[in-house]
Amino acid sequence: MEKNRETKYWRGLSEYNKSDKFKHAVNLEFENEVETEEEGKSLISRRQFLSFLTASAALTAAGCSNYKDKGDIVPYNKKPEEITVGVPNYYASTCTGCAENCGTLIKTREGRPVKIDGNPDNPVNKGKICSRGQAGIINLYDPDRIKEPLAGDRAGNYAPVTWKSADDKIIQALNSASSTGKEIAIISNTLTSLTFKKILADFKVKYPSANLYTYELAGEKNFINAFKKSYGINNPQGTEFVIPSVKLGEAKVILALESDFLNTGKNRQENIRLFTENREVISKEKFNKLYSVEGNVTLTGLNSDYRIKLKPDAIEEFVLSLLNEFIVKKSLPSGTKFAGQPGIEQLLSGFELSQFVKKYSLNSETINELVKDLESNQGSAFVSAGFMLSESTHIAVNLLNEVIGASKLFDFANGFFVLQENSTDEEIQKLSGNLKSGNVAAAVVIDSNPVYHYAKEYGFAESLKKLPTSVLLTEFLNETADVCNYVLPVNNNLESWGDYKVRAGLISLQQPVIYPLYNTRQRETIFLNWMKNDITDKQDYFLNYLKENWEKNIYPAMNSGTSFRDFWTKSLQDGIVVTQDKVNESLQFVNESFIQNSGKVKSSKDFAVVLCRSYSLGDGKFANNGWLQELPHPVSKMVWDNYAAISGDSAKELGVDTNDMIEIAINGNKISVPVFVQPGMADKTIAIELGYGRTKAGKVGSDKGFNAVELISKTPAISPWLYNNASITKTSGTYELISTQEHYPIDQEQYKDIAIKRGIVREATLAEYRKNPGGIIKEKKIDGLNIVQFPSVNEDHQYTGVKWAMAIDLNKCIGCADCTSACNVENNIPVVGKDQVKANREMHWIRIDRYYSGNSSEPRATFMPMLCQHCDLAPCENVCPVAATTHSEDGINGMAYNRCVGTRYCSNNCPYKVRRYNYFNFRNHLADGHYEQDSVSLVHNPEVTVRSRGVMEKCTFCLQRVMGARQNSIATNTPLKGSDVKTACQEACPSNAISFGDMNDDKDALQQFRKHKLSYTVLEEIKVRPNVTYIAKIRNNNGNKNKA
């Protein structure tokens, strides 16, 4: 009833009338025909389309090959006796990455090398090898290697030829050159191989017009010439002599004058070990003192206790002022024989230390302390001078060393053995002239790059191009290859035999660990064949010569008491041969050398330019090595580029800032380089690294950085690597420099000095430590934050058995990043390229964080290796939605790559930001998939997963090595000990700063680190319970925070 009186609504007449049409429409939601005439009929209806789709999918699935097929498993046909599949073999050999020739121990798997480490039996490097040696393994497998001999048209095109045809033509050319009396120029880097020197000597007998020229881009020429002059060493040309090394381990005070002896200097591995052995807080307390006087900011300078900024061209003045102080003013016991010498006193009269300090506004307190220290440490102090300083400065430094009694530290028995001195500047210029004038008929360049290493002034490019025959022996195509008509590929270091002598009393042997991968030959083999023309296909052609040379000329003097065969086998196994060399132990300083040469370098008002060595690229040889290009520069953390380092004040004067381009003009040579404002540079000083800016270095390395070789003048006023008459102007353009340390800058008051406030780095001076050892690591109060003590929400897991932990001693860490390189090789870390590093995506599992403190003109730096802390209460483990990261029963935070879906929540939660995400398949992403090619896959460590796109990775405490040690302990039925495992970073660290072991074992060496008064963990207050303990850094200075 009610309903009838309600107002009814109806939409249309058909509803109102309840017609049939309405009833029909009510039941249907849609009109029957959806297709309209306008659309037209299609060929397939929707239903047909879907049925075709499923049918084709089903057919495809059925047509697939047998999904159960697990592939083939193919064993050896004739298995070599030494190889057990899955078990590595180790071979001792020698690295030829530079003229240091460190002994190496190479780990091979299934007949191919996968890791290079130092040879523990070699007394010089004692099991350590630098980043270039570590990362150099990928050079063996680089797809850019030349695989067969090439004939070049000198316009950049190459055609393959056979060895026989190339050798025949070359022998013809050599013979014709010889008979017409025209020179055959042989150009090489420093010669350190005994047997190769013999081969070259025999070569000269066969082709009398052959002349050998050896050079280094940035070598020790000034130091060696100065030493010879200072001590009157006059060896005939081409003969060997010994320069004593320094027992740095007994030095209590070291003064480094523009010397980077801890990183790019000569004898790096030994220097680092000896230096850091004397900076000890753990087992005993021992502290040496390092003063550094420099214009450039080097790693040595940042690790010094006192760093004194001084324009490099004023260093000679400084040395002379010190000499004045020690010879004229005071009279040190070792200096008395120089006092009263008229020439010397006269020279020194123009220099006075306090005036010098005033003139250059140095800190007089520090200088006085330096003088006092040198005085009171007679016989245990040493002054080291950088390679780039002039000969005159080196001579003055030699005199200074005499005066402070440093000659007591000279070690002759283990001195530096110079097999063949490099060619003098005059000889190289004569060569350049002869090449231009046509007096040379043939040139053979052995594994070097004179077209790149010498400025255009020398004209090597044009003159080598004009020669009838120029031959390049090399592994990779380079700038010199483009001007040669024959490019002959040589074996990689890992495929070669050799013997190297760089220290008195020690010969380091080199043996191949793999048969040559391609159609290459050893350089010695090539030369032997040019003399005898009787090469066989067997790979022992040079080996036989080498063994013969040893049996006839070297082995008899050994008095080894065994047959040659046994001696040879044992020597190859050890990698070294110890000889008894007779060395002249008495050296007298020649006063005339000082009187005639010193005092010539005067500092100027113009900019000084220092050309330095590159730690990662060497002389440019390693430009195509992605790992090394991406290794952050130890000081500036720059990747993939070099730059002109300049101080903030000088930059402001020029009106430039970081990334602006400047033009540097010296003696008519000009280059344009981007600027990097480096805290701590001396004013009006610019430092640029050599080895960059190569135009033909392979897919990865070409056109990276800026070539500073053009600045090296033929007739420099001071030294080829140090100029003080540079004119610098700002030019147009900017260039983006990428540094890994500039990531995540936070410019807020709250975060200023956060490294100190949050106790990430802890430092103290030696005096403070001695006074109150337990008080350095105090209970921290963070400004403005109260640490609340919450009860733990986690069940405390009881770790019985082995629990792995690590300790890093910041006193020993010098920030060299060798650990990063070793980790890269061991764990198959991808190279991401400059654009990805800009986006904070570099993939290093261990990084060196550099914390500056003090002010920007006098900074100090602390280096802290940061890696996954393997926290007991890991914040990353809690948040993984798929439980891809879990904690093992031995305390390692592990990563299951197959489970990771790429949420990246773990990285978000990590307080140390040590997790790295694969945003791309980086091997595919870099340089058109250069590192994805077949040969590169051989470098991967087979025990470590190669990660692809979309998974998170991080340090695993070398879980593969832990598992390997577990396996060995089970197989040999011995209990697993902490010392059984050495992580890759620990193995590579040249100062042994990293320790790894079992924290549940009271007898483990790790305990002395964990229980030490200076031990602390980073960000303890967030209570994630990290398992990496750091030992606070002690500096041996008076702690004036704002001064050097």
Binding site: I73, P75, N77, V85, G86, S888, E889, A896, N898
Partner: protein, 195 residues
Amino acid sequence: MSKFLLDYNLKVRLPIIVFTAAIVFAITYYVSYAERNGIGYTPEQPIKYSHKLHAGDMKIDCQYCHTGVEKSRNAGIPSADICMNCHTAARTDKPEIIKLKEFYDYNKPIPWKRVHKIPDFAYFSHAVHVGKGIDCENCHGDMTKTEVVGQVHSFTMGACLECHRSPEKNIKDFSKLQEKFSIKKGPEYCSACHR
């Protein structure tokens, strides 16, 4: 929708669909179980090698050929020169031996079809298991009675974990091993196999 249609959908169509889906899933799951865990895969090998003859009748020890099993992660398929230790003289008339000799003389490694394989992201170590005294037949079956090698044990992660969790149920003579090697359980944490 009309009440009738909703009712029809709920009472008739929905249960039919759910039931059909469940039955199909269950049948597929159980029928493909063997396929998924690999049991029964017995491929044809390039040379008809019989373990029954060599390991069973002739009683050659497993480790004579599979030399790496105590030292390495991989047990290792023997290289052809191990076969030739005997077969340069033994049964040189048989066709399979002639095949073997051909491979050996022409220096062609024999392309055996792989039977037991776990994915690349799992790292299995033979040395650890053999070192604890676990016999080969626990996972590979009794080879002394096997003519053609096939997979007899499931190699899914669940199967491995089952043995790790209760080794006494899955390993022959476990009590003897337990006292000799003091094994309690196998590792259950992920990093033991997934690096």
